[in-house]
Symmetry: C2
Subunit: 325 residues, 2 copies
């Protein structure tokens, strides 16, 4: 068993390396290769904290992964990040622990960013050029980096933050990309001008109104991943031409689409699995005029995919697979 720390992981070009594996992570769910048990949930009463335990298996893989992801909501007051985590990669040959990835949430951030960019580039209008990013946190930054990495044509970004200070901080952090990125606090204007929008906030009430979204827009909704979170007006979800999900049971239960499902303005039958689009088994966008929305809540196959990519890149799979290093 070896331990790989966050600093070492941050040196790897994972937004490039892991993209094919993350793409396959969605397909594995729809073609029957993935075994995804329900996510474990451990609340810590009296600590204002909880922990999610995600685990799963992709048939034929050399490893499976158990991920521990914690939310400690009093941490910021102590100067610590509110979320952290780690992954344990276990050999599917022997059960030995191959590696502990002490990533403190980095790999989750990266696989989430790649998932969003894969959905966005699969579902946007083919000539989309103006991209709106809603939110100014970690995931806003990673979505831009992942889209810049995956797209083969020039993109212009606008970042919305609750303050110009926060939005401008994103621009400063991404200066190395050399891309046209603007900052705004005018969410309506961002929505009206964007061909594709990626939402990344922890909002608990809808930020984006249906009236602001014109035909042909694609939206990837990343923020809502727990009961009570919502970024898009329910009427917008109801009105969309095509709805896409990473996993319908999660999205309709506690994702962006859950409010619309509870209001019975959408049904599960309308939700197309992203994996089926990526594999060609289902249609994605049908016309330039379609409004498309993808709701991503995160699935354990993404964790397996990025962990496998790391271990492969570090030479820890292959012939020595399954032995403890």
């Amino acid at each position: 068993m070896i331990v790989i720390d966050r600093e070492r992981l941050a040196e790897l070009p994972l937004l490039t390396l892991a993209a094919p594996a993350i793409r396959d992570a969605y397909i594995a769910v729809t073609d029957g290769r993935a075994n995804l048990p329900p996510v474990g949930y451990l609340p810590l009463p009296g600590r204002n904290a909880d922990c999610h335990i995600k685990y799963g298996y992709i048939e034929g893989d050399p490893i499976f992964v158990v991920k521990i992801a914690s939310g400690f909501y009093d941490n910021p007051a102590k100067g610590l990040p509110s979320s952290t985590g780690m992954m344990v990669a276990v050999s599917t040959e022997t059960g030995d622990v191959v590696a502990v990835l002490d990533d403190k949430g980095l790999l989750t951030d990266l696989r989430t960013g790649l998932g969003g960019a894969i959905a966005t580039t699969a579902l946007w209008r083919k000539d989309a050029g103006s991209i709106g990013i809603v939110g100014a946190g970690t995931q806003a930054r990673i979505q831009i980096r992942a889209l810049a990495s995956l797209s083969n044509r020039p993109l212009r970004f606008t970042v919305w933050g609750r303050s110009m200070e926060r939005a401008n901080a994103v621009l400063a952090d991404l200066a190395d990309l050399g891309l046209p990125i603007a900052a705004t606090t005018d969410l309506e204007a961002l929505c009206r001008q964007s061909d594709a929008i990626v939402t990344t906030t922890p909002s608990k009430k809808p930020l984006i109104r249906s009236a602001w979204i014109g035909p042909s827009t694609h939206i990837t909704a990343m923020g809502a991943d727990a009961p009570g979170k919502q970024e898009l007006e329910t009427a917008l979800v109801a009105r969309a031409d095509r709805l896409f999900v990473d996993l319908a049971e999660q999205c309709l239960d506690h994702g962006e689409f859950s409010a619309a499902a509870r209001a019975v303005v959408i049904q599960e039958e309308r939700c197309v699995a992203l994996g089926a689009v990526l594999s060609g088994a289902a249609e994605g966008r049908r016309s330039d005029n379609d409004i498309t929305i993808a709701d991503l809540t995160g699935i354990a196959t993404q964790d397996i995919a990025i962990a496998r990519t790391v271990l492969d890149e570090l030479g820890l799979l292959g012939r020595s697979q399954g032995t403890t290093a």
Copy 2:
């Protein structure tokens, strides 16, 4: 985060150190301090393998624990043990991973052994001296070591194995204890002569017949921990005066008592929680003549208890609690 390997853990006198914490682990379940979500289960189709993920929280504890326990049933053919595992101890203050206990199942073996010995010494007749151990594997050895450690009076052991060779190997391994231990392949004789019996086999059909068990005997059934396993004749469970469980929902679903529950010869109301006996909230043995049976399936609070004991002994809790070492 620090990693503590099996060799370092094996040096600690945990059968002594962890006994009070394991005792409390049972009480925590009955006095409302424990949060025990359902055990996660990940089968690996095509690998003849599976993985259990156990996690839980005891109110007020400095850590919680996520345990990964794998069974790879083709491993013995490769010269590897069929079961392995590890524990991750997470700070309940910050969510940081305090330590990875790379115990390869050792801590599970020890906490299981201590649990058995705590149940046996709480429920046997007060003058019990002759102890029968059914099985000749790892858990047979640990049960004897734990009973020798916890009991304050002299005990005589008899070990039953399917062969004299296997039973004698237990005696050889325990020679350092300096205790009277005999080996046998006559299970009926062992049952008829023992005041208390501890069963530790993976048997899938009853080994111990009701007719062999006289009044005043106590039995601790450790082996049955999955659907289809059974060590005691169902009639014996039905006939017992008092039945005890670590966790009724587990014991009646996939423990020793599950066959009797399915046959509707016992009901949940008859099952008394071991923790309630240990805390004094419920009666244990009521008379010298009672036949008592305890069914232990293993609970996450035991994992927390032994992990906390390890970290405390190594000075990793206390003032630095919650920070990564």
